[in-house]
Assembly symmetry: C2
Homo-oligomer: 462 residues x 2
């Protein structure tokens, strides 16, 4: 069970890419149904192997957590493998393994998803078990206690021990002034430590229900057959009529650039990053998200990108450099840029190098040749990714859970193809706006920082 | 009706000072009662003039607002002057004026307070009217519409037109990563614009009740007489049994210094400010808040302060400089430092001057002579302030509403007197920690900033 958004830099790139490269041939193969209780079912036939991928997406993520209970969405994701009455603690995982399958789960800001891959004849078992835990989760105090230690340890390993992850958290907290995207998906440690069985169950009862779920099945199946299985399993569950569309606090006008400086003896080479607020695919003007995607592909992805060519190849300021656009979210997207200083190069010189690339993109945009190459790369990756059963399931699941339609998801390649150089330049000029940004620096220190972290106010001074 | 916290720098200084200077002689004169419905009554006899000051403090402020409804506490403060069934829109103010009195109201992060000063024989009228609007507020759509325009205009005048206020907001949003002190008391404009009658009434019903109120009466009265009046007015109101102690999301460990840079053509001379998180009086270790108060009096208050002497007098880097400690809050205090650049001095030189003062305070603390002088100043101001009937009422009201006892409030001068130079040095070393800080710069630009503020994502590109 991993959580995108902790290694945010990488995770966002993966998400963006997997989405961007995600709609070619199977477009016409996806069928969508809605069960009587409101559950949405998407079936994408893929006859190449006798296995199926089954995913359940819930329209709830960490950005829907009640204030003060950060981490509860991810905590619940872990607890979903505990006892349900029918299944004992851990039995879900054991059965999937015994069926020869694999499983996984993900928590993001906007959704929580559960994944299984099994042989085709085991699909019904999996659907039965997912339907069971969708409404019958029990949870006892001991399971909750134990699992709280697990998520705390997860935070230690993935965040506390990784200065780059700490910086990501600090930058997100500064980028979002009002929106809960400010808060780490895994939670703040002091709030995770207080998460209770009641917190988890209240969250579960509020958000887990068939009418808040999207089930995606890809593989060697036909839609009618899967629909019948869904009716026989999920179809028996009652809808939760209290479920409402999600409304989160939105960002105010942003007007002042921010900076965050993290010093850490474990930092490795000094590095600099910048995040800009940008629209999400779900709320961008027509063509804008596509333009941002291509802009950042040209600016930041791979060895031919502007950032890499300028900072690493030509000016030799950085040992690596890149950037991305992340737009697959409910309320707000973001743009990221980064560079790791080359040996002996001061970090402000590296940042000035980034600034030059940004200035050039805002003033001059990209060339027709850049744009054509980026579009071709997109198509190649898209086709390649469509080969993956899991990628297909995630494409539809993550799109639908954010409110996109199958048509919108399928038309992404066509929308990408239509982007013009003028649109890319406009997007650069509009969204690479320093006032809507936070710049983070990660600086190695020879020893412990200047002074030890102060204890909480009420604690005795150490 | 003004709102402390919009001109935060000034407001916090005023609050800190008014509190710090607020307990000498009348200590033994304050009587506290609790009515059967839970309302707390404090009476402070002060026979010097035949007027009384009457204040109602509610245990609710902007930090208690539901997410996405920022500004509703202050909006409700305005709406409390609308119709109640007994009183028509505006009649409250008209009656107080006709009685020859004055009135005012305040919203802070932690409380909302209503103030009246009238002649002694009018006290009962005022108590009747306050009791009435404590539970009988009606509000119609037109009153709400009109008043929403008033608070929006208030925000325009006090925040949007004042670059220093904008910077304060931006710095608070960066200082607090998790706590609602991050959000401006007056609200974010886009959320204020959506505040509805339902938002205001829901907030009113949740937080306004006799058992969530503290009434303070100072003036030419005797406690038994006031208690009888309170029983006859407030005593008739039902308690709200759903009221619970307030619990807000607390800050995570802070580990990386932040910066905010605001450029504005209206900025005047360039200036730099720094805020540090610090404990509040309510949660500091014994003696710590007192040490912080004296530290910052020595460091930042007046022409003899370290900051003023170093930056303005000796080094001539700044035209003004100072600092403060603000500890009168429920969850977290803060320390502030500021300097305005002298003509022709680059702002980074000014900031380096502040850094030198901070380094010296952390390494060397203050002298016995400094400390004695600061304590003497405190006593002088304290006595001076005790002459003010309103200041007395605010001292007890704002202390009690945060959970302090009358004894704790009265013992503040004794606690100040006990502070040692070692405690001051410890406080400086512990809390002037750059990792728990945000530094803000306000920089004038000759013309409009580099590029105009981007429109919201969904709007047409301008």
């Amino acid at each position: 069970m991993w959580t995108p958004g902790k290694g945010l830099l990488l995770a966002l790139m993966l998400i963006t890419q997997s989405f961007a490269t995600a709609q070619a041939n199977p477009a016409n193969r996806a069928s969508q149904f809605e069960l009587a209780n409101g559950l949405v079912l998407v079936v994408v036939p893929d006859p190449r192997a006798p296995v199926v991928t089954h995913m359940v997406y819930f329209r709830v993520g960490s950005a829907d957590e009640p204030p003060g209970t950060s981490g509860v969405a991810h905590f619940l994701e872990h607890l979903m493998f505990k006892s349900t009455g029918k299944l004992a603690n851990g039995e879900f995982s054991a059965i999937v393994s015994r069926l020869g399958g694999q499983h996984n789960a993900f928590t993001s800001y906007d959704y929580t998803a559960y994944f299984e891959r099994v042989s085709k004849d085991r699909l019904k078992n999996v659907m039965q078990m997912e339907a069971d835990r969708m409404v019958n989760l029990q949870l006892n105090e001991r399971e909750v206690e134990t699992e709280r230690q697990v998520i705390i340890e997860e935070r230690r390993v993935r965040t506390e021990n990784v200065p780059a992850s700490i910086l990501t958290e600090q930058m997100s907290a500064a980028l979002y002034q009002n929106h809960p995207y400010r808060i780490p998906i895994i939670g703040w440690m002091h709030e995770m430590a207080k998460l209770s069985r009641e917190d988890a169950l209240a969250f579960y009862k509020r958000f887990y229900a068939p009418n808040n779920a999207i089930v995606v099945v890809t593989g060697d199946v036909n839609p009618a057959e899967v629909k019948a299985l869904a009716d026989a399993t999920y179809g028996a569950l009652p809808a939760n009529l209290d479920i409402r569309p999600r409304v989160r606090p939105q960002e105010p006008e942003q007007r002042a650039p921010r900076r965050v400086e993290l010093k850490d003896p474990r930092a490795g080479n000094a590095s600099v990053r910048r995040y800009y607020l940008a629209p999400a695919l779900t709320n961008a003007a027509p063509g804008e998200a596509e333009a941002l995607y291509l802009l950042m592909k040209i600016a930041g992805v791979g060895g031919t990108s502007r950032l890499y060519q300028s900072l690493v190849v030509e000016e030799k300021l950085a040992s690596s450099a890149g950037g991305w656009y992340s737009g697959l979210s409910l309320d707000s997207g973001s743009i990221g840029l980064y560079a790791v200083a080359a040996e002996g190069v001061p970090l402000d010189k590296v940042e000035q190098g980034i600034d030059r690339v940004v200035r050039d993109l805002r003033a001059n945009g990209v060339t027709e040749a850049d744009l054509e190459r980026a579009k071709k790369q997109f198509i190649a990756e898209f086709v390649y990714e469509s080969d993956s059963q899991e990628a297909l399931a995630r494409r539809y699941g993550s799109g639908l859970v954010l409110g996109l339609t199958i048509d919108q998801i399928n038309s992404w390649p066509a929308a990408i193809a239509k982007v013009t150089v003028a649109q890319v330049k406009d997007a650069a000029a509009k969204y690479l706006d320093i006032r809507r940004s936070v710049t983070g620096t990660l600086i190695p220190t020879a020893s412990e920082p200047e002074n030890t972290i102060a204890s909480p106010p009420s604690a005795k001074k150490g």
